[in-house]
Amino acid sequence: MKLKTKLKQNREFGILGILILVSIIIALNSSAFLTVENLFDMLKGNVVLGIMSLGMLLVLLTGGIDVSVGSMVAAVTVIVGQFLMHVSGNVFLALLVGCAAGTAMGLVNGVLIAKLRIPPIVVTLGTMSIIIGLTLYWTNGTWITGLPKNFIDFGRQTIGSFYQQGDEMIGFPVQILFLVFAAILTWLILKYTLVGRGIYAMGGNRVSAERVGYNLDRITIFLYAYEGFIVGLAGVVHTSIMRQVDPNAFNGFEMQVIAAVVLGGASTLGGYGSVLGTILGVALFTVINNGLILMHIPTFWQKIVVGIVLIASIGFDVVQKRYWDSHTTKVDIEEA
């Protein structure tokens, strides 16, 4: 009974189980999967997705959505790139500029949504078009290469050295710190601040949240601005990994971010979702994509496998929850 209740209450359990199952299947088929090296590669390759998912989590929690994140992060990378090339190569200043630019764009989304009362998907579809249009009009898609050396060196830093490979020492990529920072910050906001409580309340029921005294406009503006801030962070992290700026690098990225958060158990209707679930969602996404080549799945079968695994895992999760729900209800009645 205790386990059942726990399973019912913690939606993260389902996704964790699936993550473990998928990992076992891949590990049985590829010796390269369960290695420190592969773990670091997966972390580094998906840290940007992870960071951005945390911002998206807050937005989805209130029943909103932000499809402009792909264009926002593209704009941030261009702004940061220009800043690094023409103003200063200082890493800290670049972070500041990136986050400021992201926050400013997020604020515009938030204000439009809160004050004009236009549905979030419409506002962000519109700003997506505008931001990416302006970015590409400005840059014409030209890459920025040859970033300052100290910025590149920063991106290549590692924490600790775990093993030697070729002529390089492989360690914990520095970019992970930003993911940890974003995760802790988001968790703190949700758990310990009034805004965090307001976000859950708003996603649960707007009207009662308002009656209880939450200022929904202010919360909305805050969370889109926060999403922008997170995107700014992600933009700088991405640039530090790729060491160049390609304004087209994030075409279609917004769907991946939304999918990862939803995969992690967040509801698109608002009210449910957690930092842990989101991280697990990103991890599942990462592991599935990583497994494709490691398991030697032929190129022309890969999309089919991804589609089926995606549907199967989330379907399994849904069905299992429904089973536990009906089961526990029955037990309760019998007991009564």
Partner: protein
């Protein structure tokens, strides 16, 4: 009191479409005045009439799903899969020397059948399993894309009978056939969604699925119906595209996906479900077409066109909401 509220309700929604109509007249007049020799010509009007239907059909396919509170991210790959398998049948039967009439009939049948199968898959994952539509259709869209690529290995399917090109490239009494098909689709969609009990149930699900289920409606059946209808529309768009482009490939029309969402919401469809009018969506599609073709003819930078489109989307919705907001206050 209750009656009064109903009247207001009706008026408000009439206004939404009226505003769209005014905007359409406005942009059309604007383009015509700026460039009467190129925009307001028979040739351009006809070319727009060839372009609009495939996009318009996709937009309606998207709208009917949004009305139920869902979203269908698999429309373009449903269409592509139907076109690729249908195209294979067309090409194979042509090479085998079977009569064009029989070939085309069989081919069209396969287009529709494959799309229906895709619609069943969507219905199954959304209605039977109960996965959030956004994630469910993202999954099926990846799956359909994978199947497309697996069949074509990245190439295009071509070699259709010449008669097949008729669908996308012929005008009857000056009206392009795609336009005629589009008008039929609009009328059917209107009656199905806004005049039948099936449509009413679909809107009810969009408002509140639980209440709808308790009022004796089989939510599952209606959802299956909506995804199947959406899929058939995708097949029709696929037939037009295959015929217009004389080939079938998985990437055709991929840019229509987000545009369809934009057209549906610009047309007044409530993204959370429960409200949306076929005529609104059609007007939105016409507005987007006129702006896109017009600015294109004037040689405006494509990225600036993107910016303008985004601005218009936000502006129109803001206008709508300011309008309705004022009425509520009055």
């Amino acid at each position: 009191m209750k009656n009064n509220a109903t009247v207001k309700f009706v008026q408000r929604f009439r206004n939404k479409e009226a505003v769209l109509f005014l905007i359409f007249i406005g942009v059309f007049a604007f383009m015509s005045i700026l460039s009467p020799q190129t925009f307001l010509t028979m040739r351009n009007l006809q070319s727009m009439a060839y372009q609009l239907p495939e996009f318009g059909i996709f937009a309606i396919a998207m709208m009917v799903v949004i009305v139920t509170g869902g979203i269908n991210l698999s429309i373009t790959f449903t269409s592509a899969l139907a076109s690729i398998v249908g195209g294979l049948v067309l090409a194979t039967m042509t090479t085998a020397g079977i009569s064009p009439t029989l070939t085309i009939l069989a081919g069209l049948g396969v287009f529709i059948l494959i799309a229906l199968a895709c619609g069943m898959v969507n219905g199954f994952v959304v209605a039977t399993i109960g996965i959030t539509p956004m994630l469910a259709t993202l999954g099926t869209s990846t799956l359909f894309e994978g199947v497309c690529l697996n069949i074509t290995k990245g190439g295009a399917i071509s070699g259709f009978p010449d008669a097949f090109l008729w669908f996308g490239n012929t005008a009857i009494l000056g009206i392009p056939f795609p336009m005629i098909l589009f008008i039929v689709v609009v009328v059917v969609a209107y009656y199905l969604m806004e005049r039948s009990s099936f449509g009413l149930k679909a809107y009810m699900i969009g408002c509140n699925p639980t209440v709808t289920a308790y009022s004796g409606v089989s939510v599952k059946k209606v959802l299956y119906g909506v995804y199947l209808f959406s899929a058939v529309l995708c097949a029709l768009a696929g037939i037009l595209m295959s015929s217009r482009y004389n080939s079938a490939k998985e990437s055709y029309g991929s840019s229509y996906l987000l545009q369809s969402v934009a057209a549906a919401v610009l047309g007044g469809t409530d993204i959370n479900g429960g409200y949306g009018k076929v005529v609104g969506t059609v007007l939105a599609v016409m507005i987007i077409q006129v702006i896109s073709s017009g600015l294109n003819i004037f040689g405006v930078n494509r990225f600036v066109i993107n910016v303008i489109m985004g601005g218009i989307l936000i502006m129109v919705l803001a206008l709508n909401l300011i309008n309705t907001g004022k009425k509520a206050n009055a």
